[in-house]
Symmetry: C2
Subunit: 163 residues, 2 copies
Amino acid sequence: MTDKSQTTLAFLPPDHPDFLLDDYPLYNLNRTSWTYMDEMGKVLKAVDVDAPTWRVLTLLGDRNPSTVTELSQRTVTKMSTITRILIRMEKDKLVERKSSPTDSRVTEVFITDKGRMVLEKLKVIAGRMYRTAFEGFSDSEINTMVQLLRRLRENLTRSPYLE
Amino acid sequence: MTDKSQTTLAFLPPDHPDFLLDDYPLYNLNRTSWTYMDEMGKVLKAVDVDAPTWRVLTLLGDRNPSTVTELSQRTVTKMSTITRILIRMEKDKLVERKSSPTDSRVTEVFITDKGRMVLEKLKVIAGRMYRTAFEGFSDSEINTMVQLLRRLRENLTRSPYLE
DNA sequence: TCAATTTACTTGATTATTCACGTGATTTGT
DNA sequence: ACAAATCACGTGAATAATCAAGTAAATTGA
């Protein structure tokens, strides 16, 4: 008697006849993430900031300057896309782009004073959303979630998609 | 002596001076979700299917027919957007749209035989990705993740953004 | 009953994103 | 040393998504 698989998955995979979408982990992952972005989008609209701008400002708050490549990777967005986002952010005086002095292929993106002011307001908004989102969660639950998400991402990036 | 907050959050909120982005749960949520979609996008491209098409087919595999509103809500996408997606899917003979006989405001979306055939192939691809994504996870860990994501989404949708 | 709302989309115009390609700068290999 | 490869973008053209407005059908309330 042989097992069907070496590692039993808690939920049936999409190609299983009894697959149940509403229980599917990756469906729940996406739907939750998009719901979050949808809700953030609404409150951001109220202060006239779009989601990509908020995300870039947040990254620059974390690491200033950042390169275009870094921003692209950490937002999981095509480089050409964030180039465009940066262009309109520069028009709005939220960031400045300067060619790196050490490697003139790379563009360093700096947050401006105005950008920093906007970011401070956005942080308060994001903080409120965070508290709402994790209401009723214990510290260890939040911790667990972060660890699980990290491991999941590592699995997804390591060995892109071996056959 | 008073506590700083009633419920202690495991990770500091965005508006805290010692905030650390790489540990932030919602940043990890989005980055993981987008990484997943990015990887899926690559393998889907190889079979010439775009991500929105795949998602709609998956929903129709789960519930056929679905209404435009259902598809919009379950994908967390603006209705006008999925209307467009459905138009191009109909052009590709993957779905059919019919006005509901009981309520002629609603459009029922049916998967076609061709759509079902394409979906079967996509399910195999999605299954491979799923196994890769959760490699090394125990059943209970996967279970935990689904429960946490569900609770998070409930928090995000209930009382949209009080204050 | 019938005017006012609400619901469930659809569509035209606008905006955003991505693809494919190009450019100039650095690295690599011999 | 120097040709070939790679890297880090930027850009024009194409595609996709969103907003605002509109339509037709159902529902609500006086």
